[in-house]
Subunit: 315 residues, 2 copies
């Protein structure tokens, strides 16, 4: 096969996922293996290099066609030097990932944090394909974000741009504390964690809801109950959507994106969540920031991380 | 003289200001003349071309050294085509400024809105010189903004990025309507208009303040009274600073800028305003967004518009 190829690595605490993308960002092959975090960074880096070499040699491409290798890692990263300053789920401190992998692979390596990389994946070949100004929000345990302008990640002074979960939108009198130390962050209500908390609070207060019959509570249970017409569950979903939309309204006047892409487990709630987000967003921005702007679900699912990591070497 | 030169035009409703900058953004010469809006766009464009040719021929540079001409214009502009869709203070609709000026001058012309251009000026050779991630806020009749990343204006999907005055920060129950149609925009409290309104409200309520002795009220009067210890004036200044800092906190987690630059008439209030902004900002962001981040006054004053317009042709 002709053309360049891009290798992406999604480095998680339990598994390493490696993928091969063509120049259009189409994911051609993937390979997944255990991380083996307990063996320490050097062994993990050896393993990544081995997986990368393997996936290329198993493909119909040659090593010479590899434009570069990118890796997405959860943690605090010095983007320029490619050093992982601290990653909690790998238990790494000051690991020179870029240098170590470049030595092992002999090709350019770039790394970035998992939220930025997932956003780049969606912008390159997912729900943001062909759109120049894209903002992604990932609703999972927390609320992650990524801003992609003209195909490039907006990184900020210390690589901390797009921490969209920490936009403060809940009024002080209703706000609870966020893991970041602030109060009222959108993450406290619009994440899976926030939704479960609101559901448990309602059950604890003895409100009339089908959720009180469940022994464990997941965000999905709340959405399912809301879809069946449970008033309490519906109120919780609307609250999560409401504050997310308010945060998006703030992002809109700062960046004027054309498309918001919403992914992560919570986004699987579907129309019940998206309809409310779209309604509240429109009510909270001047009209010119809503015209031609759309709010759509992510398309790549878990592959966004691999694809976006591959895309780090695009320009 | 050797090197390239950059010509900037600050096109206002009453006067046209033209300036010549060197490659470092130093403003070498300026020229100012009347706009003559009433004579219509073609005459105004002729006049701009004349002023531009004049200032270059009066300098020690040659026309061949001109890298390009930029113009900052208040209004809604299609940046790519360089068409002023609507400018209220010029009373222009769909004027092809870029094409018309390129025909008259025979060199590249770029235009942008006045707030973006002022931000670029400060980032290039004012308070943001040498800083890669800069956010500017201009506190005047409204609150304008500009975001400059690596020397480039962040424009957004429809050129409306950095409308920072419309970040909604005032809680609904305290909020008043903004000119944009929304309620609670930071512009409603942190602009000169907002400050004067709050002062008039206090006087109208019969609060004990030296401001009640004045026949007309300007924002400067409020700052002067606050500096002299007037409690009511002080409360108003703190409120303006408080909500501005809250808007800046939202910008911080979206863009992670290294420096905030605050300009415009209101910023001349000095320490009484800046001390409060810095305090409230720090209280409203996770610590990593405050470390190494500074909040400083603009340096170029009214020249920011000319310098930034000149800088539009930098890359």
């Amino acid at each position: 096969m002709s053309g360049k190829i891009y290798v992406g690595v999604d480095l998680g605490g339990t598994s390493i996922k490696v993928g091969l993308c063509d120049e259009q960002g189409t994911l051609l092959h993937t390979y997944e293996g255990p991380t083996g975090t307990e063996e320490g960074p050097q062994v993990v880096l050896d393993r990544i290099a081995q997986y990368v070499k393997q996936i290329v040699s198993d493909s119909s491409y040659t090593w010479e066609q590899v434009a570069g290798v990118g890796a997405g890692i959860a943690g605090f990263i010095d983007l320029e030097s490619g050093i992982v300053i601290r990653s909690a789920n790998l238990d790494w401190d000051n690991v020179e990932v870029k240098r170590e992998l470049e030595e092992r692979l002999g090709c350019p390596v770039r790394i970035n944090n998992d939220a930025n990389v997932a956003a780049l994946g969606e912008a390159w070949s997912g729900a943001g394909r062909g759109v120049a100004h894209v903002v992604c929000l990932t609703l999972g345990t927390g609320v992650g974000g990524g801003v992609i302008i003209n195909g490039k990640i907006v990184e900020g002074f210390r690589g901390m741009a797009a921490e969209l979960g920490h936009i403060k939108v809940v009024p002080d009198l209703e706000a609870i504390q966020c893991g970041c130390g602030q109060i009222g962050c959108v993450e406290t209500v619009s994440s899976a964690t926030g939704i479960i908390r609101m559901a448990k609070d309602a059950v604890g207060r003895g409100e009339a809801t089908s959720l009180s019959e469940l022994s464990t509570l997941m965000a999905k249970d709340v959405f399912d109950a809301a879809k069946e017409g449970d008033e309490v569950a519906l109120r919780i979903v609307k609250r999560a959507a409401h504050y997310l939309a308010k945060a998006m309204a703030a992002v809109a006047v700062v960046l004027n994106p054309q498309r918001f892409i919403i992914g992560g487990g919570v986004s699987r709630a579907g129309d019940i969540l998206f309809d409310e987000i779209r309604k509240v967003y429109k009510l909270n921005v001047p009209p010119a920031f809503a015209e031609g702007v759309d709010i759509v679900p992510a398309q790549l699912g878990n592959d966004a991380g691999i694809v976006g990591a591959a895309g780090l070497n695009l320009n």
